[in-house]
Symmetry: C2
Subunit: 414 residues, 2 copies
Amino acid sequence: MPKRPSVVVVGGGFGGLEAARALGGVDADVTLVDKKNHHCFQPLLYQVATAALSPADVAWPIRSVLSSQQNATVIMAEVSGIDLEACAVATSDGLRIPFDYLILATGATSSYFGHPDWAQYAPGLKTIEDATRIRARILSCFERAERLQDEASRQQAMTFAIVGGGPTGVELAGAIADVAHNVLARDFRRVNPRSAKIFLLDAGKRVLPTFEEELSEYTREALQKMGVEVLAGCSVTNVSEDCVTLSDGRRIDCCCTLWAAGVRASAAAAWLEAPADRAGRVIVDDSLRVSPHRNIFAIGDVAASTSEGKPVPGLAPAAKQMGQFVGSLIAQELSGESRKPEPFVYRHQGDLATIGRKSAVVSLRRIRLKGSPGWLFWSVVHIYFLIGLRNRITVAINWLWEYLTFQRGARLIS
Amino acid sequence: MPKRPSVVVVGGGFGGLEAARALGGVDADVTLVDKKNHHCFQPLLYQVATAALSPADVAWPIRSVLSSQQNATVIMAEVSGIDLEACAVATSDGLRIPFDYLILATGATSSYFGHPDWAQYAPGLKTIEDATRIRARILSCFERAERLQDEASRQQAMTFAIVGGGPTGVELAGAIADVAHNVLARDFRRVNPRSAKIFLLDAGKRVLPTFEEELSEYTREALQKMGVEVLAGCSVTNVSEDCVTLSDGRRIDCCCTLWAAGVRASAAAAWLEAPADRAGRVIVDDSLRVSPHRNIFAIGDVAASTSEGKPVPGLAPAAKQMGQFVGSLIAQELSGESRKPEPFVYRHQGDLATIGRKSAVVSLRRIRLKGSPGWLFWSVVHIYFLIGLRNRITVAINWLWEYLTFQRGARLIS
C-alpha cells in the first residue's frame, strides 16, 4: 500500500485553518501545527483587551474545530525550522514532521520600526496573552490613579497613547474612551475616570487610510466627540515607560502606550532562506508558492503576494481566501489533475471598523454605512464569522448587556 | 466638624465583601483593600480550572460590587504590614491607610504540610491565576501525549493525581474525568483521552469527610464509575515533577498533580504579632476580635474562631456570616449603643459537592440529595449565589451548553 501523501500546515490562524479545511475531502494526511492550542479571532481581540469579552469568547481549540475532519491531525508544538532536504518540519521539542506539501501560515507580530526596545512599553495586540496583558495594563492605570495623591500624577496615570490609526488603533482608542467615560465612571471615589485623556497618533494624514476620506473624517470627528484626541501627521520618535515623544517635539506623559502601528512577518522566510520583502514576508508567486519549491506555499500575513498586480492586504478575509486557494490547489494536484491552475485572485469584500458604542464605519462595494447602522452591520457580520454557536450566543449576550447597562463583563486584572 | 470614623477591611473575599456591605448605611468611611481588583467566587474555581467557565464568569471587580455604596472606597494594593501604634495599614507601594476599626479578611493559601517545594509540582486552587494555570496544565498533558511516541510516556502524560478528598478534590477529579472521557474524546488522533487515569488520594478513611458516611460512599462509587481511582487512607510522602509517592510505597507516575489537601492562613497573625493556631489562623474571641485590640477583627479563613464551643469551618457561608456579624457589631458601636453584643454563632447551612456531569451530593439540615437531583439543586444554588445577572445568565448558558453538547467552552492554554 503506498503511503498517503502528507500535507503539513504551520499555523492555525484564518489562513491555516481554512487551508486545512479545504483539504477535508482529500485522500491525504493533513497535519496542522501551531504553538497555541487555539485559533484566535483577531478582529475581536481589542474587545478582550478592553474587558468587553473573555478570551474564550474569541478563541477556539484548533483540534475541536477540526475534530470531525478525519484526515486532520493537530499538533501543538513550536516550529523551530524546516529541513528542506528531508522535507520535514522540526519542532522545538525535537519532533520531525515529514511533508509532501507544506503550507506556511505563521502570521505576523508587531513591528517597532527598528526600535525593538519600545515593545516592553507599548505592547501590540496579536494574541490572547497580549489582550489580557493590555486589559490588565489599562485597568491598572485607573487603579493606580485612585491610589496616587497628587493631581499631576493622577492625570498622567489616566493618559493613554495609542500609536497607529488603522482599524485596531481606532477600535482601541474608542473602546478605552468608552471604558473611562461609561464603564468605570461611577466606580471610583478619588479620581474621575471621565477625565482620562486618550491620544490616537498616526504618522499619516488621516486615520483609517484604507477607507474613503469621508469615512476617515467621520471617524476622526466621532472619536473627538468621544474625548479621543486624534493627532494625525505625527510620527513617534521615542517611547519610554511614561512618555511618548512625537516628531514635532511634543511629549505625551502617559501611563499606558499601546502599539497598533506596524507588523512584521514571522520567521518563515528565514526557515526557508527565501527572499522576503521589507516587512519580512516571504515572496510568493501567483500560485502562492515559494519558488523554487513546488511543494511549499505561504499564505496570509506571512506572504508577500499580489493579485492582479496589486499587493494583497493583511486582512482576515485575504488569509482565508489564500488558505482556500492553496487547499484546493493541492487537492487538485493530488487528484492527478494536470491543467495549469488559475493564479490567485483576491476579492476585497470591504472594510469595517468600530469607533465606539453604537458607532462604526463600513465600506463595502456599493454600501457606505456609518454611526448606528454601521455598528449594527458590524455586529451582525462579526457574530456571523465567529466559530460555534456557543460563542455566537455568548458574544451576542455580552454585547446586548453592554449596550443596555454600559457595563463590561470581563474587568479582570490577572 | 469631627472626622468621620474609618473602617478598613483587608481582603475582598466572601468575608471582607460582606463586612463592607454590612457597613453600607453607617456614617463612616469604609475602605476595602485587596491586592486583586476582583472578588473571586472560589466554589466555582474548579470549573475554570477544567475549562467549563471563563475567569470573568466567576469573578467581579470589587469596586463594581461596591459602586453604589457611597461610603465605600476600594483600593487595589498589597498590604505589607499593620502599624498598631499609629493604627494604620501599610501597603507595599508606600500607602498608609489609617483606621479606627480594622477587619482582616485575607483568607488562606494552599499548605503543603511542611513541604513548600511541592508547590511547584502540585499547584493549589485558590485564585483565578491558579485556575488558568491548572487549566493550561491539564490541557497541555493531553497535547503532550499526542506528541509523544512511546506508549508508556503517553500513558504517564495522561495520568492525573489529585491530593485531597474534600469537595475541591472530588470536584476536580470528577471534572477531569469528564474532560478526558467526554470533552476531548473525539479531538485526538494518536492517543485516546478516554484512557486517561485519574487518582484521587486522601490520607483519611473516606472522601468528603464532613458529609454523612452514606454520601461519602456514594461519591466514591460514583467517581469509580467515572474512571477515577479513589485511594483513601494513603498519605503522600513525596511529590516530584512526574511522580507522587504514597505512604504504602506505591508510586504514581503522572504528568499533573493537583493539590486540594491543606490550607494555611495568610500572614495576618504575623502582621499583628497575635497568637495563631497551627494553620496560622489568628485566634479571635467570641466577638471575632483579636485581643487585646478592641478595634481589630479577623474573619473567614484567616480567623480561628469557635461557635458554641465548636470550631467554625473554612467555608464561604461561614466567612459571609462572620463578615455580616462584624459589620453589624461595628455599626452598633459607632451608633453609640453600649449593650454587650451577643457572641458570634455560626449557622451551618449544609454541604454540597459536585461529582461530575449530572451528579452531586447535598446534605442540608433535613435534606439529603444525590445524583441528578443533587446536581440540579447544586446548580440552582450556585447560580443564585453568583453576583450579577450577566454572570448568572452566562454561567447558566455555559452549563446548559455543556449538558447538551458534552463540550466545555473555555479550553484555552494561555
